[in-house]
């Protein structure tokens, strides 16, 4: 078997750790597995006995004598015969052809019981496994979701959504589908193999040796093919990935392709990739398709070996026909677990790789604990001061060196600067999405760092360009910030936000469920909803992002109108892309390259003639 890397081992250990809370059930399923396998492999043995009984009867009917070896294990369990054998090994009991064959009947009854119990225990094992595996996956998912809430925002800013999503969804699904299969099949397969080998040796050691040759040979063939086909499958996956991104790119840009006559070239390039994929896929499929015949070949050679050797031994009188039959059945039962084991070994590699990625996610450092002696502010005046604020996304790259500003109750603060100047950084600090490297932001004189994060955030309301809505009714989305809001309050908030009208035109009004990507709403409507959401939450301080350019003029007017109402009497921060929205601000913060470079009112800043003035002048040519 392949050597596992230490990370893999620890991922395996941790994955097994998820079964710990269910250790009683795990023990139970192990017992069921062992018992089920024991019954499963006793079956052929007892069936062999039945065959022996039949053969003996045929012999007895023809010759009138029964020549028996009392110690023949094939007679185990058939006490009636054993007890009626005399010293020469001749059967002296009641004639066997009389009545309805009581001995055979008894053997077969035992057999039915064995088969029944084997089925029952296999079922129990699979059922318990399903329950345990699903529960363990439930726990893993819960941990992952809880982790999502506990990671610092920095994590999301430094990892792509795609990466986080693939760890939290695709990888988890990989684990979940294979965990159960591994648990059900691997144990049974191993137990079965061991059990069969033991049974064979107790029946006849010469013939068992054939199995001992077949077993490793089959395992070897299987794992070689599995390994080979894995590399081919990787090739298929890569080929598919290449075709996929090519197709995606070309479908997305299909108009460009047509406009510039690129179709022929695209067809040529596509054909090349498609052919490579064809080659890889064919190899992968072929390799995996020979797994079964190759293993069967080894198994069947064993089968033939048993027929020949068993035939010779039986003809020589040292083996019963029932024993041959039992051996043949064991040989057939052999191939299945061997194929399963080698499949599972492959599956385990990808499962552990997925588990490792998930555990890596779970091991990411979390937000520091909230302080126990946190100060709590229920209501704020909305006075905010920046005191020698020092901040950088990493300590060795400080962006804001020493920021000081004072904002009083009800003031409008404009934030502006060229793209990438760090406007969102200020929001991150205000909302305590990130902690400062020095200095303090005070709310009504209280250092925000001394409050809980939740407390800080509950004082703020946010209306961002990125209009995140979740899949629920519009009503529930509006009351997202204040779940206890009544329907009337929700509707009032929408009226204030100029959203009431369009919501009522929707087929289900306030109960309209928003699709995954809110595809049933225009981006302007989504922005109106986020404004309504802020109205409903009724925060004392606001952070607003200017409307995007993708909104038509009418909706834009509705939005500016609603924003104006929203900001009345509340301290508010506005991120501006067009300077016209912040001309009348009480304070304008001008950012450049991540740091605050100027502050003041419009007139003051124009007088300085610095960054702001340059920005302002570039809008008019």
């Amino acid at each position: 078997m392949t050597k596992k890397s230490p990370e893999n081992t620890s991922a395996a250990k941790r994955l097994i750790g998820y079964l710990k809370p269910y250790r009683k059930k795990v023990a139970l399923l192990l017992i069921c597995a062992v018992v089920g396998v024991i019954f499963l492999i006793t079956g052929p043995r007892v069936l062999g006995t039945a065959t022996n009984v039949i053969t003996m009867r045929a012999q007895y009917n023809q010759t009138g004598v029964l020549d028996l070896d009392v110690n023949d294990p094939g007679l185990a369990g058939v006490e009636e015969i054993r007890e009626n054998v005399d010293a020469e090994g001749n059967y002296v009991g009641a004639p066997l052809n009389e009545g309805d064959m009581p001995v055979l009947k008894m053997v077969l009854m035992i057999l039915v019981a064995i088969y029944g119990l084997s089925a029952l225990f296999t079922y129990l094992q699979q059922k318990i496994t399903a329950q345990v595996a699903q529960r363990a996956m439930f726990d893993l998912r819960e941990n992952v979701d809880r982790k999502i809430q506990r990671l610092p925002l920095n994590y999301y800013d430094t990892h792509t959504h795609g990466d986080v999503l693939s760890r939290t969804t695709t990888d988890i699904e990989t684990i979940s589908t294979s965990l159960q299969q591994i648990m059900t099949q691997l144990l049974t397969a191993l137990f079965t193999i061991i059990g069969i080998v033991i049974m064979m040796f107790t029946l006849n050691w010469q013939m068992a040796l054939i199995a001992l040759v077949v077993l490793p040979a089959a395992l070897f063939v299987c794992s070689r093919i599995a390994k080979k086909s894995q590399t081919f499958f990787k090739g298929q996956q890569e080929g598919l990935g290449a075709v996929n991104s090519y197709v995606e790119e070309h479908y997305a840009g299909h108009d460009v392709l047509k406009l510039y006559g690129g179709e022929k070239r695209a067809e040529r390039e596509f054909d090349e990739m498609n052919d490579t994929l064809n080659e890889n896929a064919r190899r992968a499929q072929f390799a995996s398709s020979i797994m079964m015949p190759a293993t069967n070949l080894v198994g069947n050679l064993g089968y033939v070996g048993i027929c020949i050797l068993g035939g010779l031994l039986t003809a020589g009188g040292s083996l019963t026909i029932g024993a041959i039959q039992a051996f043949l059945q064991y040989m057939q039962q052999f191939t299945q677990p061997i194929i399963q084991t080698s499949n599972i070994v492959n599956m385990m590699q990808s499962t552990l790789a997925a588990a490792e990625r998930v555990f890596e996610f779970l091991d990411e450092p979390e937000i520091p604990e909230e302080r126990k002696d946190a100060v709590r502010i229920e209501k704020t005046e909305g006075n905010i001061t920046f005191e020698h604020v020092k901040f950088g996304y990493s300590p060795d790259r400080i962006l804001i060196t020493d920021m000081n500003a004072e904002i009083r109750h009800g003031q409008k603060v404009g934030i502006c600067g060229p793209t990438g100047a760090g406007k969102t950084t200020l929001i991150n600090l205000l909302m305590r999405f990130y902690d400062l490297n020095g200095g303090a932001i005070r709310i009504d004189g209280v250092d925000a760092a001394e409050m809980t994060r939740q407390n800080v955030r509950s004082l703020f309301g946010m209306v961002l360009q990125d209009t995140w809505l979740y899949s629920a009714s519009i009503r529930d989305n509006i009351r997202y910030g204040r779940p206890e809001a009544t329907d009337e309050e929700v509707e009032e908030a929408c009226r204030m936000a100029n959203a009431d009208y369009f919501i009522r035109t929707l087929p289900d009004g306030y109960d309209t469920v928003i699709d995954e990507s809110a595809g049933n709403l225009s981006s302007g409507q989504k922005q109106l909803l986020t404004i309504a959401r802020a109205f409903c939450a009724d925060p004392q301080i606001l952070i607003l992002d200017e409307a995007t350019s993708s909104v038509d003029t009418r909706t834009e007017k509705l939005m500016t109108d609603a924003m104006k109402k929203l900001t009345e009497g509340r301290t508010n921060f506005q991120i501006a892309h067009r300077l016209s929205t912040i001309f009348d601000a009480d304070l304008i913060l001008v950012l450049k390259d991540g740091d605050l470079v100027e502050q003041g009112t419009h007139d003051e800043l124009m007088k300085i003639g610095g960054v702001y003035a340059a920005l302002y002048n570039s809008q008019f040519l």
Binding site: I54, T55, Q134, Q149, V256, C307
Partner: protein, 576 residues
């Protein structure tokens, strides 16, 4: 599914060979027990050692032949199935290549991508499975039962009784498990959806301090899914044990009846043993076949989705007898053009008439959704009008050869899509053999030369898939350069300056004007500043042209235009 499988005709040779080999494989699988019974009955019982050895050697040959043909089956099955899917993918790509905006809108780009890749893969995997199992199972059933009847009719009846029980049972379990599987998929989607929402909306969730509520929402969905999947798994758990039980009870029946027949001297022990093994072989074949039925629903949905695309006839096709205009004047004329999308009652644009002259700039302005882009996309026939005609150089665009028509137009779409390759390959998109000088000149007009030269490899700097490694403004400039690098004499810009700052916007427009003196330029814009110097401005509202003239004329005569101009340009005035 069957419709799609018509494409398998090309692989008739492989398929015939495969079926022949399947027969050999089935024959060898069934022959082994028969040979075994001969060894027992003639070799063992009569003590004929030579017979045992001879029969054994024959069995080895049978085994080898069987395995070889099974491998051959795998070879031809993979070759046919994978080849067939490769062909389908090729056909699909070429078919989609002919689609225009309308068809792309109908199915959606991402769905088309999925259908071209993942759906076909599903069909491929299913088809291989199908090939290897669907023919083998009936052969095994029929062959096994025939051989059994040859041995003994009474015992064969046991097999005949077992088979329908197994089939009925398989159908029952799968039937009851399918609905749960389907609802489970929906529940799993929900769990993943919440995770996705929690990740994409992490800022909002925290801003509204909704972490605990989100955790609860997730826990509910998680619990729901866990229960559903446990239920379905438990249901499936009954399948194998019960199947085995049926088979084993069948075996017991064979032994019971066989025992009687043997004691009466009708059959021999070996015959009975062979029958037990036929039963096993038939059972495995049936179980494999049931797997096919389990996989079929999913694969057939995929196949249907592929066929659906293949059956869509693109609305826009090449003219049968294309006309070529005598002169390349560059005049673009709209005559009373109306365009509707899909089943919409309200036309996207109606009764559009105007002429764009060479050497002039014609601009369209209006709110989002007013129909500006819909108008211009009819020029290169990305869509066709419902009524009215669009003429280029005096000829209806529908009478052109498509390639010929589009060569005359340098079109910059709203979304500046780039393709994986280099900056050069993207600018020289219309002609792979374009000279370096021409590429550079185009880049200079688009004000892109500066930032390109600053790149590590200059014009040979790589562009990632979809142009994701290039910023929005740069991407837009490269898209403009791509158009400027063509030999077109009509240039159309669909809101192509939106990501540029005011200074660059002005510089690009000026360079375009200087370098395309005799060309027709059509610009769609949202910013008045971008188009106020145009020779002719068309103001659009709700799909109609409601004003036409120069900036000054419209300021005085068109209230909508005056309104837009006021909100966008007034910003200085109020304060100064």
């Amino acid at each position: 599914m069957l419709k799609l499988y018509k494409g398998l005709k090309a692989y008739a040779k492989q398929l015939i060979l495969m079926v022949l080999l399947l027969f050999v494989q089935a024959f060898s699988m069934l022959m082994l027990p028969s040979m075994m019974s001969l060894i027992i009955d003639r070799g063992v019982v009569q003590g004929d050692m030579n017979f045992i050895v001879t029969a054994g050697i024959i069995m080895i040959c049978i085994t080898l032949a069987g395995s070889a043909s099974a491998i051959g089956v795998g070879y031809f099955a993979s070759k046919a199935a994978v080849g067939f899917c490769t062909d389908t993918r090729k056909k699909l790509f070429r078919h989609i290549d002919r689609f225009t905006l309308e068809e792309f809108d109908r199915i959606g780009t991402s769905s088309l991508t999925t259908r071209s890749t993942n759906d076909i893969l599903q069909v491929q995997n299913f088809t291989i499975m199908l090939f290897r199992v669907i023919i083998l199972a009936p052969i095994m059933c029929i062959g096994g039962i025939t051989l059994a009847f040859q041995k003994n009719a009474e015992l064969a009846m046991v097999l005949v009784v077992c088979m329908p029980i197994i089939v009925v049972f398989l159908v029952m379990v799968l039937r009851s498990a399918f609905p749960i599987f389907r609802s489970m998929q929906a529940k799993l989607d929900k769990v993943n959806l919440i995770i996705r929402e929690n990740i994409t909306g992490v800022r909002v969730v925290r801003a509204f301090t909704a972490e605990e509520r989100e955790e609860k929402r997730f826990e509910e969905a998680n619990e729901d899914m866990t229960q559903a999947s446990t239920r379905s798994q438990v249901k499936v758990s009954t399948l194998m044990p019960l199947l085995m039980l049926i088979i084993n009870l069948g075996t017991v029946a064979v032994v019971w009846f066989g025992g009687r027949q043997i004691s009466m001297g009708v059959i021999q022990v070996g015959d009975m043993m062979a029958l037990i093994q036929y039963l096993m072989l038939i059972m495995y074949a049936l179980v494999m076949m049931s797997l096919i039925f389990a996989l079929m629903p999913r694969a057939s949905v995929c196949a249907e989705r592929i066929v659906e695309v293949l059956e869509i006839e693109p609305a826009i096709t090449n003219a049968e007898q294309p006309k070529v205009p005598e002169k390349k004047t560059g005049i673009v004329e709209f005559r009373d053009v109306t365009l509707s999308y899909g089943n919409s009652d309200i036309p996207a644009v109606s009764n559009i008439s105007f002429t764009a002259m060479p050497g002039q700039t014609t601009a369209l302005i209006g709110a989002t959704g007013s129909g500006k882009s819909s108008v211009i996309c009819m020029i290169p026939r990305l869509r066709d009008p419902e009524r009215g005609t669009v003429l280029v150089d005096g000829i209806d665009v529908r009478e052109y050869d498509l390639t010929e028509l589009r060569k005359r137009i340098g079109y910059v779409p709203q979304k500046s899509n780039l393709f994986a390759g280099t900056i050069r390959s993207n600018i020289a998109f219309s002609n792979e053999n374009m000279s370096g000088g021409q590429v550079k000149r185009a880049a200079q007009i688009a004000q892109a030369d500066d930032f390109i030269s600053r790149k590590e490899l200059g014009y040979d700097d790589p562009v990632a898939e979809g142009g994701t490694n290039v910023s929005g403004g740069q991407r837009q400039r490269l898209a403009i350069a791509r158009a400027m690098a063509t030999d077109a004499n009509i240039f159309v810009f669909d809101d192509s300056f939106s990501a540029l700052d005011f200074k660059t916007d002005a510089a690009v427009r000026q360079a375009i004007r200087e370098n395309t003196q005799n060309a027709t330029v059509i610009i769609v814009a949202q910013r008045v500043g971008t188009i106020m110097n145009a020779d002719k401005i068309l103001v659009m509202d709700k799909g109609r042209i409601i004003g036409e003239g120069t900036h000054e004329e419209l300021l005085a005569g068109c209230s909508v235009y005056a309104q837009i101009a006021k909100t966008q340009l007034a910003e200085g005035g109020e304060r100064k």
